[in-house]
Structures are given as structure tokens and as C-alpha cells.
């Protein structure tokens, strides 16, 4: 009788935030590792999806391999957050390449020059 009052497959947003945390954290760590390894174009994206597959397997193991007592579908564990984490991955993947070339990218140089000039104008 209780199950008629309460929806059976209601997932708490807290659990979804656990999934999101794991995905984003692993995307950031994977991005840093891909940057250190110096992976190029397609190899980096393949590496990202390998890391996400590892995360999916680990999440399945965390759910003790009984997905349907914790989630409503497999997509929650396999797909959710994969493409959101891609943005974090690319950010942390390309950041070391700026360090590698040991100079600022051109837009930042322009920006810093502009800042210096405006400071000089303000001070004079």
C-alpha cells in the first residue's frame, strides 16, 4: 500500500550530485594527465572516453553491480555527465600547453598591454 503513496523510482538529487561530482573530478584529473602526457588531437579525446569508461565501471562497482536498486536506468551510470565533463577535460588538457610554450597566448598579451597602459593613464 505504501508504494501507491510514494513513487517507486524517485531518485534524490543528492545522488545525482554524487554522480556529477565523480564525473567532473575524473574529467579534470584526466585532462591534467592528458596534458602531461602531451596527447594530441584525437588521442586526447579517445583518452577522455577511456577515463569515462573507467569511471562508469567504478560507479557500477560502487552500486554493487545492482544498478536497478539505486538508479532507474543504465543511462544514469553510463552517460550522465559524460559530455558535461568534456568541457572541463578540454580546459585542463589545453592549459599545460600554454605552460609548455612558456609565453602567454596572443590575446592575453594584448590584454595585459591594455591593462598596463590604462594603469599608466590612471597614475599620471
Amino acid at each position: 500500500m505504501l508504494s501507491s503513496f510514494f513513487p517507486c523510482h524517485w531518485i534524490s538529487p543528492f545522488i545525482l550530485s554524487i554522480l556529477l561530482f565523480s564525473r567532473t573530478f575524473m574529467a579534470i584529473i584526466g585532462g591534467v594527465i592528458a596534458g602531461i602526457l602531451g596527447l594530441n588531437s584525437l588521442t586526447g579525446f579517445i583518452f577522455y572516453f577511456l577515463v569515462m569508461a573507467m569511471t562508469s565501471v567504478a560507479l557500477t562497482a560502487k552500486a554493487k553491480f545492482s544498478i536497478h536498486s539505486y538508479f532507474d536506468s543504465w543511462n544514469r551510470i553510463l552517460l550522465d555527465g559524460c559530455f558535461g565533463g568534456l568541457m572541463s577535460f578540454v580546459l585542463f588538457w589545453t592549459y599545460p600547453s600554454y605552460v609548455r610554450f612558456a609565453h602567454f597566448p596572443p590575446p592575453l598579451i594584448k590584454l595585459s598591454e591594455l591593462c598596463c597602459q590604462s594603469f599608466q593613464v590612471l597614475l599620471s
Partner: protein
């Protein structure tokens, strides 16, 4: 949260050490004018170890999954209708005739 968080901190520290080693290695390559084909083997081992530690931290730190079934052992849903303190009888429904033949289904 404590142990998982600590493992994650250790993983990030190993990762930053690997980053520092790679920067030094690249500086060395710049002096000897060689091409970078990949970090040295000890850095790769450090990366693998930190990846495993961070994977562990990502699983352990945020918290445990809770079952979605209301009948489960670890269920935390407090059933309000089962709690007699919250039952209210003094409402406008009392002017309607009581249907004693009504069956709960």
C-alpha cells in the same frame, strides 16, 4: 568523507609532482634540442598511480548511493501517512457522509 578525501589529496600531490618533473624534463630537452615524444617512465608510473588514487577518491569522497525502493532495508523515506501524529480529522471533509463500505485498494 575523511579517508576518501585524504586519498584524493595524496593523488593530486603525486600529480603535481609528476607535472613538476615533466616541466624539468622539457627544460632539459630544450637545452639538448631534442623532440618531446613522451614523459619518462617514472613520470608515467606516477601518473597511473595518481589516476588510480583519484578514481578511488572520486568514488569514496562524495557519499554513498541510497536505494530507490521504498521497501528496502536502508530506506530513509519517512512515511507520513503511517505517522499518526500528522493525521488531521478536523477539516471540511467531515460534512460529507462517511462511506463505511469504502475499501482501500
Amino acid at each position: 568523507m575523511g579517508a576518501g578525501f585524504l586519498v584524493g589529496v595524496i593523488g593530486v600531490l603525486i600529480l603535481s609532482h609528476a607535472t613538476y618533473s615533466t616541466i624539468q624534463y622539457r627544460a632539459l630537452l630544450k637545452i639538448t634540442e631534442e623532440e618531446f615524444s613522451g614523459p619518462p617512465i617514472d613520470v608515467v608510473i606516477e601518473l597511473i598511480v595518481s589516476l588510480v588514487l583519484c578514481l578511488w577518491a572520486a568514488m569514496a569522497a562524495p557519499g554513498n548511493f541510497k536505494s530507490i525502493h521504498p521497501q528496502s532495508e536502508e530506506n530513509r523515506v519517512v512515511a507520513l501517512p503511517a505517522n499518526l501524529d500528522f493525521m488531521i480529522f478536523n477539516h471540511r471533509g467531515k460534512i460529507f457522509p462517511l462511506e463505511t463500505e469504502l475499501k482501500l485498494k
